[in-house]
């Protein structure tokens, strides 16, 4: 390592040329395929990934199931448009608003990528109602806009009378309307929304249109991610530059760490893109992580150079000296940071893995550029420019407020060592209380700041409607019986129904058929052949047999069983009573509603009819509508699998988890007819799954990297005690941060979860520098009392400068528009400052208290 630094000092220009060339290659490799994707098809263009599903890998069973169910029940991602009117006492149910809404829905059906047949709006859904005595009427709910306000209210009343529409299309207070616009693919949502917005701009009523829905959130997310990278990262760069300029007073000199940071960021992001990885919420934070870390080592070099230059008055000798002194701690701090981040690769969340790996790569690259480019840069500067370098510092630096504070701190740690240790124990106790209070929860919509239009729309819609967060509960009938079992059951049934003549046929066909359905088909054919030639009297008899056989097969259709539908209704009532579900929609609601309308709309007939046949009749009646395919969102055509659509007002994982538990409990307490099994899908559910994986995965990753770093420390210091000592500040810091999170009631969410591994790699750096320098210096002095004064000189200043530069370097994340960035910014800064303080207080206090143990070898 010293060797390569020396090479760099001998050939400084070559290293700069090479770094420049590398950056240029990286930039072209990313730009060319991104700008001209067709001409550079072999290269990977820059790809933005905002799909929360990607928190799970594509072959994750939960995700595979999710997509399979979406397909099977023909469900699509939806853009939701909520229309609210707060000036009209009838809300949007007035002539003019409904005319606009009608026009918007009509417009939406023509927008490219909209699945017009599944669009849900007052003008595209069906109304079923009694149309006078003995008459049932199917019609579009609002085929034409109303001619007056009174007619508008009729539309409202009709919609509110239909359980599937009330709370979904029409708000519960009867004043707002929501349109659900399914789209073919998430990535076209931007165009769809822009088209809708331009149409909405044509309206001049006083309605407010809130556009939301997952695809919209994702698109907005992508934009905000770029804003973060385009604003926060350069701002961090500028801030770091200004701080270093303040510390080293020489702008031309501090340019070198900036170059290091820039080349490291370009190379790392370039590698990320050209290896085909996507820019995700996590990976978009890579630049802002690499930048402060990249300047860390450079600050140590410059700091030491700044102090040593007056001694040697020659840049080459000074550099050699500095590199000799710092090479080991720099290598180790780099490795520990890299290990800390690389441990994220052990989590089961792909975007977190990519983030961890590439920050880790970036850290190593930054180290390489630091130990080559910084010395090379110094060599390129004319010797004269250092003339004034050491002069003002000898008094200036050691008299600066920072130096005086650190000197004072050094004395305090010596005299008040016991107090510090007691305080640490007390604080650790408080932290423990806080950690136990931690609530694990996340909600991707809350990644937007509270005043963001998506959050505003989210609140506006969830206040008025049953909920915009969707979860789907799949209920499945038990597996079909084996053919032989089925045949046995069939024969048994025939015996008790006086159909003995058919038993030989069953025996013959059960050998031929491959499944129950085929067996019955063969049997039916045989009966029908017989019926063609028999007398009228016999025909009736055979007709009964035919019906019986058909119905026997029909028993496999779980979700036509009235008992099953009633069970679903009970489950839905229960779900409603938990307060976690705004509304549930299922096949049983369809059956009950159609049944009621067939019986003159009487409220008492809002129930499941008694027989399978009656259920089948309500279902076939429902399919006489304009949208027969709507039924297949709730049940598969074989009636073996049903989908219950739950609308939740909260997208918090905590609430979804509670719901999952409640459903499990209900099903355990109330055994289902026909042995139904249940399973979940929907994004709200997926979020819970990746969160669970993240929590357990992060714990493993953290423990793993903690042990690795401890081993590395023990190796570095050739002592287990020193190794443990090095781990203490970061352990303390992490406990404090998580204790604090628990105490203030901040949710333990995705960004908070990754913090532990982030801080592990960074916080240990200070301890390494502090302990390495302390041990080095202790050799020159007789005891810790004298050593501590020296340690709280230059080494403590270097650490303090680092704490300030890096701690403040993350602050620009606060300017980012997305909450996770802000969370990371605040906590990383807090962690680094706290780790710095812990290093400069706890470590000297412990060394003072265990001096004899730690310096045993040296004493003897």
């Amino acid at each position: 390592m010293i060797h390569i630094s020396e090479t760099a000092t001998r050939r400084p220009k070559v290293f700069f040329w090479l770094s420049g060339l590398l950056s240029l290659i990286m930039i072209s490799l990313v730009t060319l395929p991104s700008v001209w994707p067709t001409s550079f098809g072999l290269l990977n263009p820059l790809q933005i990934d905002t799909d929360p599903e990607n928190m799970l890998s594509p072959d994750e069973p939960v995700r595979v199931y999710h997509n399979a169910q979406k397909k099977e029940f023909a469900l699509y991602d939806m853009v939701v448009v909520g229309v609210v009117n707060q000036t009209n006492p009838q809300g949007v149910f007035n002539k003019s608003s409904l005319t606009d809404i009608h026009a918007l829905a009509d417009f939406a059906t023509r927008v490219d990528g909209v699945i017009s047949v599944d669009l849900m709006s007052p003008s595209t859904v069906d109304n079923i109602e009694p149309g006078g005595p003995g008459v049932v009427k199917f019609e579009w709910l609002m085929k034409e806009p109303p001619v007056n306000d009174a007619e508008a209210l009729t539309v409202r009343d009709k919609a509110q009378n239909l359980p599937l529409l009330n709370g979904t299309i029409v708000s519960e207070d009867g004043k707002a309307i929501a349109l659900y616009i399914p789209i073919t693919a998430k990535n076209i949502s931007y165009n769809v929304v822009e088209a809708l917005k331009s149409k909405i701009n044509e309206f001049n009523g006083d309605d407010r249109y809130h556009i939301t829905g997952l695809p919209v959130a994702q698109d907005t997310f992508g934009v905000e991610m770029f804003i973060q990278m385009a604003i926060s990262a350069p701002m961090a760069m500028l801030l770091i530059f200004l701080l270093m300029w303040y510390f080293f007073k020489k702008a031309s000199l501090v340019v070198s760490p900036m170059i290091v940071a820039m080349v490291s960021v370009i190379t790392t992001m370039g590698l990320l893109v050209i290896t085909g990885n996507t820019v995700h919420i996590m990976s978009s934070m890579i630049p802002i992580f690499i930048m402060p870390i990249a300047v860390l080592d450079a600050i140590h070099i410059l700091s030491d150079f700044y102090d040593k230059y007056p001694q040697f008055k020659d840049r080459k000798t000074t550099i050699q000296h500095v590199m000799k002194e710092l090479s080991a701690p720099m290598l180790f701090t780099t490795l520990t940071t890299a290990v800390g981040f690389a441990s994220l690769a052990l989590t089961p969340i792909p975007p977190v893995q990519v983030f961890g790996l590439f920050v880790s790569i970036g850290v190593v690259l930054a180290w390489f550029f630091t130990i080559t480019l910084v010395p090379a840069y110094i060599m390129l500067m004319p010797e004269e420019s250092f003339a004034d370098f050491g002069l003002d510092h000898s008094e200036g630096d050691s008299n600066s407020p920072l130096a005086r504070t650190l000197n004072g701190l050094g004395r305090v740690t010596f005299c008040g060592a016991k107090m510090i240790i007691v305080a640490v124990f007390v604080l650790a106790g408080v932290a423990w209380v806080g950690v136990n209070k931690i609530v694990i929860n996340d909600n991707p919509v809350k990644w937007f700041s509270p005043d963001h239009e998506i959050r505003v729309a989210d609140r506006a819609l969830n206040e008025r409607f049953a909920g915009t967060y969707m979860a789907y509960l799949v209920l499945e009938g038990k597996e079909e019986a084996q053919l032989s079992q089925f045949a046995d059951g069939l024969k048994l049934g025939m015996q008790s129904h006086g159909l003995l003549e058919l038993i030989p046929d069953v025996e013959t066909f059960s050998l031929e058929a491959k499944d129950a359905k085929e067996l019955v088909n063969l049997l039916v054919q045989k009966i029908e052949q017989r019926m063609e030639i028999v007398s009228d009297e016999d025909w009736d008899k055979w007709d009964v047999a035919l019906t019986w056989v058909g119905e026997y097969l029909g028993r496999g259709e779980t979700f036509k069983n009235p008992d099953v539908l009633r069970y679903m209704s009970r489950l839905q009532d229960y779900l409603q009573s938990t307060g976690l579900v705004g509304k549930s929609n299922s096949l049983s609601d369809v059956v009950k509603t159609v049944h009621r309308e067939l019986f003159m709309g009487r409220a008492t007939d809002y129930r499941i009819p008694e027989s399978r046949g009656s259920v089948a009749e309500t279902l076939i009646t429902y399919q006489n509508s304009h949208r027969p395919q709507d039924l297949w969102h709730f049940v598969t055509p074989d009636y073996k699998k049903s989908n219950m659509w739950l609308q939740l007002k909260s997208g918090d994982n905590r609430d979804m988890s509670a719901l999952i538990d409640k459903v499990d409990q209900f099903i355990e307490d109330n055994p289902s007819p026909e042995g139904i099994t249940h399973n979940w899908f929907g994004l709200t559910y997926i979020n819970v799954i990746w969160q669970d994986k993240m929590v357990s995965g992060m714990a493993e990753a953290f423990i793993g990297s903690f042990i690795i770093v401890l081993i590395m420390m023990t190796f570095l210091f050739r002592s287990l005690w020193w190794g443990i000592l090095a781990m203490i500040p970061l352990t303390f810091t992490i406990s404090m941060i998580y204790g604090f999170i628990g105490l203030i009631g901040k949710d333990y969410d995705m960004p908070v979860a990754v913090l532990s591994s982030l801080s592990l790699g960074l916080a240990v750096d200070y301890a390494i520098h502090f302990l390495a320098r302390s041990r080095e210096m202790r050799k020159k002095f007789s005891d810790w009392k004298e050593t501590s004064v020296a340690v709280f000189g230059e080494p403590a200043r270097a650490i303090a400068r680092n704490v300030i530069v890096v701690g403040i370097g993350f602050i620009p994340l606060l300017a980012a528009p997305l909450v996770p960035y802000q969370t990371v910014g605040v906590f990383i800064s807090a962690i680094l400052v706290l780790a710095g303080v812990a290093t400069l207080t706890i470590l000297p206090a412990l060394i003072r208290s265990f001096e004899s143990l730690l310096f045993k070898k040296d004493v003897t």
């Binding site: 035919l546 046949g613 009749e617 399919q623 006489n624």
Partner: protein, 261 residues
């Protein structure tokens, strides 16, 4: 496509092509006649396979009885008796097609023991969950649209029809490919206001039955939802001598076995 080709082969044997050019209304009337008014009455067993976009299939089987009120291709009656699936067996759908007013439609649901009139608000809704509309089954009145021959070749007229009351229907126009020799529409395509094809009907098989060229297999495809329904007609008979009284509410509950078996 292969089916269409076969169909043309069959059709070409069915009769000679008339030489004189025809008026569009004449073509439309004849097509209407051969599609819905052959003989005095008719009976067929229909097997309907409803296949959705995912290829999932459901089967319905019913007997359809028809009787015309006169020879003027006007009022007529349909009685549709369901055999399969077993759980809707005995369900009956009955239509009285009127010329001077909306059609009357009844639905008998045996399990619920209900006879319901279906309001005439819209006939362009799904026929028992299939891709055919009620109006496709009983026929759309030829007076409801304006017609024009837009294309003509040796074997077919292509007639474009546009609704007189555009708000009553979901299409903007439809085109029928009418076979010159038989006047059977062998293909019908419906378009929306952007000219996009939304639905298409295809006659898949034509047989000569009782002297009438008869479509015995047909499909209706919905290009928006992406599924199709196949109808297969078997045991087709004309001039059965169906009595008038079976097309009444009384016979909904007590199906006329004689004509259904």
């Amino acid at each position: 496509m292969k089916n269409i080709f076969k169909l043309f082969l069959v059709l070409s044997f069915l009769g000679a092509v008339p030489a004189a050019a025809m008026d569009v209304m004449e073509v439309v009337k004849k097509a209407n006649h051969v599609s819905y008014y052959k003989g005095d009455d008719g009976r067929a067993k229909v097997n309907m396979r409803i296949i959705d976009a995912q290829g999932r299939e459901r089967v319905r089987e019913f007997i359809i009885l028809r009787k015309d009120d006169g020879d003027d291709d006007g009022k007529q009656k349909f009685y549709v008796y369901f055999n399969k699936p077993a759980d809707v067996k005995k369900m009956v759908f009955m239509v009285v097609k009127n010329m001077d007013r909306d059609d009357d439609r009844w639905l008998y649901l045996p399990g619920l023991d209900l006879v319901k009139r279906i309001a005439a608000s819209d006939e362009r809704t799904s026929f028992v969950g299939s891709h055919f509309f009620y109006e496709d089954v009983s026929g759309r009145g030829i007076q409801e649209d304006t017609h024009a021959i837009v294309e003509e070749n040796d074997s077919t007229y292509v007639v474009e029809s546009k609704p007189k009351d555009a708000k009553a229907v979901e299409f903007t126009s439809f085109k029928s490919w009418i076979h010159k020799a038989t006047f059977l529409p062998i293909k019908t395509e419906y378009y929306d206001d952007q000219g996009k094809k939304t639905r298409s009907y295809t006659a898949l098989k034509v047989e000569m039955i009782g002297g009438h060229p008869t479509v015995t297999a047909a499909s209706m495809e919905n290009h928006q939802t992406g599924g199709k329904t196949l109808m297969n007609y078997s045991v087709v008979k004309y001039d059965v001598g169906l009595p008038d009284n079976i097309f009444s509410e009384r016979y909904l509950r007590k199906a006329p076995r004689k004509y259904l078996r």
